[in-house]
Structure formats: C-alpha cells, structure tokens
C-alpha cells in the first residue's frame, strides 16, 4: 500500500489548485450571493480537461482515473464547492455517454460535453421518487423512431441552463428493469422548466424542475438498450458520490485553514486562541476527521478504478463519511470563529451552506447506509 501521490498526480493537484485559486476563489462569494452560474469559469476549467476527466483521451477526454478526479474536485471545492460540484455532474454525464453510448452518440455529444460548449444535467429524481429512485414515473412511449416523454424531474442541477439532459425514464414495467436512459436536447418540443429554486447553498448553479409534456426524443438518443438505464444511472452515481465526497474534503479543508488562521491571530484573555488547549483539541479532531475522510475517498476511488466488487460499497462509505465529516468540520470552524463565523465577510458560512447538501444528494447518507448494509448482510 502506498500513500504518496505520483509525480503526475502531484502535478494534476497543483494545476487544479492554482486554477481554482485564481479563477474560482476570488469570485466564489459573489457567485454565491448573486446566484451567478459562472459559465466562463467553467469553460476555462473545461479547457484544462476538467469536464471529461475520466472520458477516454481519444474521445476528447483527459483519460484519467477516479483518484485523479478526487484530487481535482478537492482542489476546486476548496475555492467553490458549488461550482466544483456542478462540474462533477458534467463529468458524470460525459462519462456515461463515453461508457454506455455508441460511436454515433459519442461523436454527436462528447466533444460538446468535454469542451463545455454544452452544459449537461443528470435527471433521476422526481417529485414523488427520491431515495426510492427505481419507482420513477416519467414515461417514455415509443412512437416510430421517437419516444414521447411525459413526467417531471425535480432538483435538477443546471435545470433550465443546461443544453443536454440525461434523463432516466420508464420504457417498460415497474422497478429498475423498466428504466432507460435518454439524452434530451434543450429546445426539444415539449421540454420546459420550473422556476429557479431558492436554496440554502449551491447558489452558483441553478436548480429547477425539468418538465416533459409529450416531449419527442429520437430513439437514437437512448444510451444502451431499453431497461439498462437504472444500471447506468447507478454506476454514474458511484463516481458522482466520490466527487461529492471530494468536494466536501475541499470545503472542509478551506474551513480548517480559515480556523487555523483565526486561532493563530485572534487573542482573548491575553493569549492567542491557539494557546487554549480546549480549542487545540477541537482543532486536532477536525484535522484528524478530514484526514480520515480523505483516506476513505481515495480508497473508494482506487476501488472504483480497479473495478473491485466492493467498489459501490466503498464509494457509499466514503460519501457518507466524507460529507458528514465535511459538514461537521465547517460547523466547528464556524464555532471557533465565534460571531465572525456567522458573517458573510468570512468564508466559513458559505462553505457550511454549500456542504450541507452533500449529505442529502447523490443518494442521502441514509441511503448510503442502506447500500452498505445490503452488501454486508446479503444472506
């Protein structure tokens, strides 16, 4: 077992960190406050290969692994978790097209996705099906060489702004085997969007319902075969969960650094806060939790890269642990800042709001426990 990054990984991490510090960090507070979707900054990230991290090189991707991705997302999220997380979704959809699409679909979509000429959304959740994702109701009925879609997707990141929607729809009977995955272009007749949701965090990316009313989509836009959609959606999520875990690492790291800075400089009762042992212990625990979370995310990534049988479980464990730890670290950092932590002039509260949702999305942390228990308690 080796715990050091390769020279390449070090270079990748450094590039992502330098990029995020220059292109995300100075603007992140403004993006958050004004709800700005930073299209140009995201396209700059795509120029460096961050939108197709694990898309194969011959398809216009960067041809890297999940561990490389985890390093990148931690760095980007240390500047802006919300924008980094959107990029994770773009990567997830691009990977699904590369992995499960046919040559014609790769040719038609991948270049647009890896360059972020087109923005992508992943549409699984519905108003009536969240954790019980396989009960989704959006229907796709075959009509010649088209599907006719009817239904609503909820909580869609990029909804209304994205150009391409990877939509899980029901083409067959009940349960996961009746689900297929189709790519729906913005501008398709019958496709519309709900209002932009107002959220606690993740404000640099719009969230909206995606609504299909007799929306016609070419059968040629279906990834794989009918009935394979749920499987694709879940394997996309394995990587998505690692990325979200890595985004929590980044946000938590930024808060840990902010807390360190505050402890070193803030003086009360005649000494720096860093000299109070009670606070030292809390700070040490935060740093330890972050390190543990990072190890789990990297382990999950290595597992997924190796195609290990336990990969889904490792990803679920890493996502559960890293997102819980990440939020706790932000919350502790806020507490250590006292009143200043509550002010928007200090960055901690933004990270706290952004990281809160990581415990909910890409499968709630309760569902992560379900995945782990199901794997371990199989008869």
């Amino acid at each position: 077992m080796r715990f050091t990054l390769s020279e390449d990984q070090e270079a990748i991490r450094r590039t992502a960190g330098d990029f995020a510090a220059a292109e995300f960090l100075p603007y992140a507070a403004q993006w958050d406050e004004q709800g700005i979707f930073p299209v140009d900054a995201l396209r700059k990230a795509a120029d460096l290969g961050f939108a197709g991290i694990y898309v194969r090189e011959e398809q216009g991707g960067s041809g890297l692994g999940r561990l490389d991705a985890a390093l990148i997302f931690e760095e980007l999220a240390a500047a802006c978790p919300s924008t980094a997380a959107y990029l994770s979704i773009q990567n997830m959809v691009a990977w699904m097209v590369d992995r499960f699409g046919n040559d014609e679909q790769r040719g038609r979509f991948l270049k647009r996705l890896t360059s972020m000429e087109s923005f992508a959304s992943y549409c699984l959740t519905e108003p009536g099906s969240g954790s019980d994702a396989a009960s989704l109701k959006t229907k796709a009925v075959r009509d010649g060489d088209h599907y006719v879609l009817n239904g609503t997707k909820a909580f869609i990141s990029g909804g209304g702004a994205s150009d391409l929607y990877a939509v899980m729809v029901r083409t067959g009977g009940e349960g996961p085997k009746g689900i297929s995955c189709v790519l729906v272009e913005k501008g398709s007749p019958g496709l519309s969007f709900g209002k932009r949701e107002r959220k606690l965090g993740w404000n640099s990316q719009p969230t909206a319902m995606v609504i299909f009313e007799d929306c016609r989509v070419p059968v040629a836009n279906r990834l794989g075969e009918e009935g394979e959609g749920f499987k694709f959606a879940m394997s996309g999520l394995d990587g998505g969960r690692l990325n979200i875990g890595a985004c929590s690492l980044g946000g938590a790291r930024a808060c840990l650094e902010a807390a360190r800075n505050h402890l070193m400089h803030r003086r009360q009762f005649g000494q720096a806060l860093a000299e109070f042992q009670a606070l030292q212990f809390r700070f040490a625990d935060m740093a330890t939790e972050l390190e543990a979370a990072r190890l789990m995310v990297h382990r999950g990534a290595a597992s997924l890269d190796a195609g290990a049988a336990e990969a889904s479980m490792h990803c679920a464990m890493a996502k559960r642990f890293a997102t819980d730890a990440g939020f706790r670290i932000c919350n502790e950092a806020l507490q250590l800042h006292g009143g200043y932590g509550y002010l928007k002039d200090f960055p901690v509260e933004r990270y706290l709001r952004d990281l809160r949702v990581h415990q909910i999305l890409e499968g709630t942390n309760e569902i992560m426990r379900l995945i782990i228990a199901r794997r371990l308690l199989r008869p």
Binding site: E7, D8, A11, I12, T15, G49, S62, L64, D68
Partner: protein, 249 residues
C-alpha cells in the same frame, strides 16, 4: 528557430518566507516550490511564438539540484518540447548560471533565449544581462511586448519613465516583465504527455564551467517589523512630521 527558455525553481510566491535560525539563508525544507513566475511568462511567450509559426522548438533549461526536473516538467506540461537540466548541488549565483547557460546555448544554437527579468527568491536581476554580454548578443530586458520582424525583433521595454521600444538583431536575449503575457495552465492531457518528453541531464563539468560561487553571503535577516501608525491632530502636525521626522518631503 529554436527558442531556449531558462526556468528556475524557487519558493512559491504564496509561501510565507522564514529565515533560518543561523541566518545563512531562508528555510526551503518542506516548502512548496514553483517555477519562478517571470520564467513562466517566458515559457508562455516561447509557446506563443511556436504557435504563431515563428519558432520551431521550445527548450526549457533549468540549473540546480535534481528536483529542478519538476520545474522543467511544469514547462513541458505547459507545452515546451524538451528539457535540459544542468544538475549540481552547488549554490548557483548569476554569473555561474550565465556561464552555464552560455555553454548550453553554444551547443543548442537557439535563435532566441528568454529568461525572467529576475527570480523572486534572490531578486538578482543579473543573469539575462550577463548572459547577453558573455554571448555578445543583443539584449531586450524587462520586455512587455515582443514582436518578430523581418530583420530581427522589436521589444517594448518597461523603463522608469514609461515604455521604450528597441529593435534588436537576432540571436538575442530577452528578459520578461510581468505584463508580457498571462501564462496558461497546463491541461490534464498535457500533464500526462509531459512525462514522455525528454529531459537531458548534464553536469557542469561536461560544459567546462566551474560554477563555484564568487560572492559570499554574510547574513540573511528578516525585514524590520512594521511599526504601528500614529494619529496626528492637524495638517500642520502632519507636514511637520513628514518633514522633520520621516524626512520624506
């Protein structure tokens, strides 16, 4: 035309510098190191020349310890074609660097050599000028604009009074100023390609240069701590203090 760019490994500009307890230098152990920012600008300029069809090959040269390979890799990841490391653990001062570079240049015969105007660690601002003198080439220092013309180069220089434009014959030595360009980030595919690009490692002996330092550092100290400000009651008092206490007017 080949373009040779010198790249120096320095403490990253974001790092808070600590002076060693024995005052012989600054702490470099476990400190983030990066390419000198002015050299990054040099690499970028060379790449732009190549992309514009004005240069055929970009060679990144670094001098120093084995870890300087990382700095060369950074240049290769940005897009440079190959690297040369003159490897030595001897402390290198500007004259030694200039002599070593001259020896590399005699072998490589580039049409243009680009260096940062200075390195952010020792701020010497000497190597480019010394190198031009040793080579007997024209020099365009503190360049904020570089244009290749039919009969040489046009270099806009940042001088005290504003901007000065000079015409140079090639081959020439250019040193970069901050506003010459904004360097690119290395893309992920280029980072992966960089490791397949060759880096030649040469010893100073092989170049026939003795790199031993000629200058002796007596001591390195931190700048004096900033004094707290003072409030004045009137403009009169302010003027008086500026004249008699600070002696700045």
């Amino acid at each position: 035309m080949k373009v040779l760019v010198a790249v120096k490994r320095v403490i990253d500009y974001n790092v808070k510098i600590r002076v060693k307890a024995d005052r012989t230098g600054v702490e470099t152990a476990n400190v983030k190191m990066s390419m000198n920012p002015f050299d990054e600008i040099g690499v970028e300029e060379a790449l732009r020349l190549r992309e514009a069809g004005k240069a055929t090959e970009v060679i990144a040269v670094s001098l120093g310890a084995q870890q300087c390979q990382e700095t060369i890799r950074t240049a290769l990841a940005m897009g440079a074609d190959r690297g040369i490391l003159v490897q030595t653990d001897v402390e290198l001062q500007p004259l030694a660097v200039a002599k070593l570079l001259k020896a590399v240049i005699d072998k490589e015969q580039p049409g243009l050599v680009i260096l940062g105007k200075q390195a952010i660690d020792d701020d010497s601002n000497q190597t480019g000028q010394m190198l031009a003198a040793l080579l007997g080439w024209s020099q365009g220092t503190f360049a904020s604009k570089l244009a290749i013309t039919d009969d040489g180069l046009e270099v806009t220089r940042e001088v005290d009074g504003g901007l000065e434009t000079v015409k140079l014959k090639t081959p020439a030595v250019i040193t970069t100023d901050l506003r010459l360009n904004e360097p690119r980030y290395a893309s992920l595919p280029n980072i992966m390609k960089a490791k397949k690009k060759p880096i030649d490692v040469i010893a100073p002996d092989a170049l026939g240069v003795d790199p031993a330092p000629r200058l002796k550092v007596l001591k390195v100290e931190e700048p004096a701590k900033r004094q707290g400000g003072k409030k004045v009651a009137s403009v009169q008092e302010l003027v008086d203090k500026l004249q008699n206490e600070a002696r700045v007017i």
